[in-house]
């Protein structure tokens, strides 16, 4: 085994990573994209519902079809797609170690030295602590969605969902489509968090939405697995009100309490972080090129602030164009022009009651970069 060289390594083959790799490869870069999963596409392959937005953002198309389309584009652009390939570390000198499963099922450690790096590692689900939250049967809404839509396995029969954001609403509906009984949707806030159109589907199906409620305990049977869910009303400070407890009979509790950006590799690359509550936690600060405080390390998608597949696709494009620019494959003027067009499109996505906040946060990350990063650190 020796060190392999490549122009660009993209970590994470979700919407952000795939679109970054497509853009860079089309501009002439030699690109490898690594993902630890068996299938590329990230969360898109769980999204059996149609997307909203403009035609430039694939409105009316199901996530799973967008994933397939990106994959074909990546292949025809000449991107090398490494699946079952887990990046386990980034080391001094710009060395990236990847645990790669080979065709014969054995694994080996491969070291890559890419000239440029795009980290698009997405986000992971937030956990919520209540009594017995570690019992089998309590899981993330995303985990339940993977079980039904990717693996075609029902997580159980009677589900209580915590969280009424879009993930909670959509996954509740998909659980019903998969044949589960969704007993209740529990939400601590006084109103539903997600889009009205998704909430209406849940209401029409007759699922009770318990606003100003939380889960305080998972009841377990003699095997230790979930057999019920204790809810309680909450006060204005989201504290449970004693005496309002009620038990719902169920065998699964799914948690849709938001996501947090996955920071481990971004930390190892040495990128400067900031805490951003609305974006889900710690995120790397970056400039308009999606480049971090480390020269040659770019970020895109949920790992630089939890948003949506659409924004991830566009941020990925910017990162790919910028990586190609750093490789000398496109002039700064041409790259700026392409980036400007995408930023304008992103502005149109970051509008309205849900989007406006994200536009402010994104501009804040770029402001911080411009203020705090006087000189980029070297990566390689």
């Amino acid at each position: 085994m020796s060190i392999k060289m490549t122009d660009l390594l993209v970590i994470g083959a979700g919407p952000a990573g795939l679109s970054a790799s497509i853009e860079a490869a089309r501009l002439g870069a030699k690109v490898i994209i690594a993902d630890l999963n068996m299938k590329p596409g990230g969360q898109l392959f769980k999204q059996i519902h149609k997307f909203f937005g403009s035609s430039a953002h694939h409105s009316g198309t199901r996530g799973i079809d967008i994933g397939r389309m990106l994959l074909e584009e990546a292949k025809s652009a000449g991107v090398q797609i490494w699946l079952k390939s887990t990046v386990i570390g980034i080391f001094p000198g710009g060395k990236v170690s990847i645990e790669r499963e080979m065709d014969d099922g054995t694994t080996e450690l491969v070291t890559l030295m890419p000239k440029e790096l795009v980290i698009a590692t997405g986000a992971s689900e937030n956990a919520i602590r209540f009594k017995n939250w570690t019992a089998p049967g309590v899981m993330g809404a995303g985990a339940a969605q993977t079980m039904i839509n990717v693996n075609h396995v029902k997580p159980g029969n009677k589900v209580v969902m915590l969280g009424s954001g879009n993930v909670g609403l959509i996954v509740s509906y998909q659980l019903m489509q998969a044949g589960c009984d969704v007993c209740a949707l529990v939400e601590a806030a006084p109103k539903v968090g997600g889009y009205a159109v998704h909430a209406a589907k849940i209401r029409r199906a007759g699922v009770p939405i318990l606003l100003r409620h939380t889960i305080i305990e998972a009841k377990t049977d003699s095997n230790g697995t979930v057999s019920g869910c204790v809810t309680a009303e909450v006060d204005d400070h989201f504290n449970p009100i004693p005496g309002t407890e009620e038990t719902i009979d169920c065998d699964v509790i799914t948690i849709a309490a938001g996501l947090k950006p996955t920071m481990d590799l971004i930390k190892l690359a040495g990128c400067k972080l900031t805490f951003d509550g609305p974006f889900g936690g710690y995120v790397p600060i970056h400039n308009e090129k999606m480049e971090t405080s480390v020269k040659g390390v770019f970020v895109a998608g949920d790992s630089t602030g939890v948003e949506e597949a659409n924004t991830a696709l566009d941020e990925g494009k910017i990162a790919g164009i910028s990586a190609a620019e750093a490789l000398g494959l496109i002039s700064e003027t041409d790259a700026d022009e392409k980036r400007k067009e995408i930023w304008n499109r992103l502005d149109s996505l970051r509008m309205g009651p849900f989007g406006q906040r994200r536009k402010i946060e994104k501009e804040h990350l770029i402001d911080l970069y411009n203020k705090e990063v006087k000189e980029q650190k070297a990566f390689a």
Binding site: T86, G89, S97, E99, S124, F275
Partner: protein, 94 residues
């Protein structure tokens, strides 16, 4: 809502670290996520804190009367995902 948490509730599943152990670590002088991690192993297991870090942050912040963005975040160490000793042994030193 930290005062509603039983001390025996598990926060870090991988290393089975409880609310009480995290509170004790704070009383012992831990001021941030790294301080709690070193004292209790919270966040040192299989998932490297991807599941529990926010909850650990919330408990430390509550105990110290700080905001969650004032208690830091853990440092990352390779391997960030589990790896067998066999794979490490077979790897070439570079």
């Amino acid at each position: 809502m930290s005062e509603y948490l039983d001390d025996d509730m598990i926060v870090c599943r991988c290393e089975e670290v409880t609310v009480g152990e995290i509170r004790a670590a704070v009383r012992d002088g831990a001021k941030d996520v790294v301080g709690v991690k070193r004292r209790t192993r919270a966040g040192m297991g299989l998932c490297q804190g991807r599941t529990c870090e926010k909850m650990v942050m919330a408990i430390i912040a509550s105990e110290l009367g700080k905001k969650t963005d004032q208690v830091g975040t853990s440092s990352a160490r390779p391997p960030v995902r589990p790896l067998t000793f066999g794979e490490l042994a077979d790897a070439e030193v570079i």
